[in-house]
């Protein structure tokens, strides 16, 4: 089972007494603000959860795996997520069915 925006809005409705439309808008706005910050070259630091960090990658040589032809991989900017200490500890304690 995966947590979705709909689930999150439902809980804002239950917990905070926001109406359903407000709850849905706030969830949407939250993720949009994080995207906008990253797009404007800000790292986003959410204490207790983690940091979204931007990294610029320089151009490097690549290869088309099918044809073997050499094509450069252009410079790009990527987002990485580094979980915070608190989140890491909570997740580490999880003993899943894979173990």
């Amino acid at each position: 089972m995966a947590l979705t925006k709909a689930d999150m809005a439902e809980r804002l409705f239950d917990e905070l007494g926001l109406n359903k439309r407000e709850a849905k808008e706030l969830v949407e706005l939250f993720f949009e603000e994080v995207r906008e910050a990253l797009e404007s070259a800000y790292n986003v630091k959410l204490s207790g959860f983690g940091n979204f960090t931007l990294r610029d990658k320089t151009q490097r040589p690549g290869r088309n795996p099918k044809t073997g032809e050499e094509i450069p991989i252009c410079a790009r900017r990527v987002v990485t997520f580094r979980p915070g200490q608190k989140l890491k500890q909570r997740v580490e304690a999880y003993a899943g069915s894979q173990q």
Partner: protein, 107 residues
């Protein structure tokens, strides 16, 4: 290859501020509580082994790190470290594209 960039940072409180300005029918306090709840819901999901899927933003899941032999840096004794789960984020298509386009448009 990547190197540490000099990027500005946005903190949670600033994010709440921006959101509250756009939702001026809601009190700052409500927006703050909502953001707190969202982060708690996300942490809780991961802490119980669930994934998080946000279209256009990305997905969070757990990756398993198998047990390995480590060393106590003080004594040099070898210790066995148990396997563990770590949170992992995969940015969605829209986020990837918007962030990458911002690099090229700022040049």
């Amino acid at each position: 290859m990547s190197d540490d960039q000099e990027m500005r940072s946005m903190m949670k409180s600033e994010l709440v501020e921006l959101m509250a300005r756009k939702q001026n029918h809601l009190a700052y306090k409500d927006v703050e509580l909502a953001v707190k709840s969202l982060l708690e819901q996300m942490s809780e999901a991961l802490a119980t082994g669930d994934r998080i899927e946000i279209r256009g933003f990305g997905s969070f899941s757990l990756h398993f790190r198998p047990p390995r032999a480590g060393r106590n840096p003080k004594t040099g004794d070898s210790v066995s470290l148990p396997g563990k789960y770590v949170p992992h984020f995969k940015p969605g298509k829209e986020l990837r594209e918007r962030v990458n386009n911002s690099l090229h448009s700022s040049e």
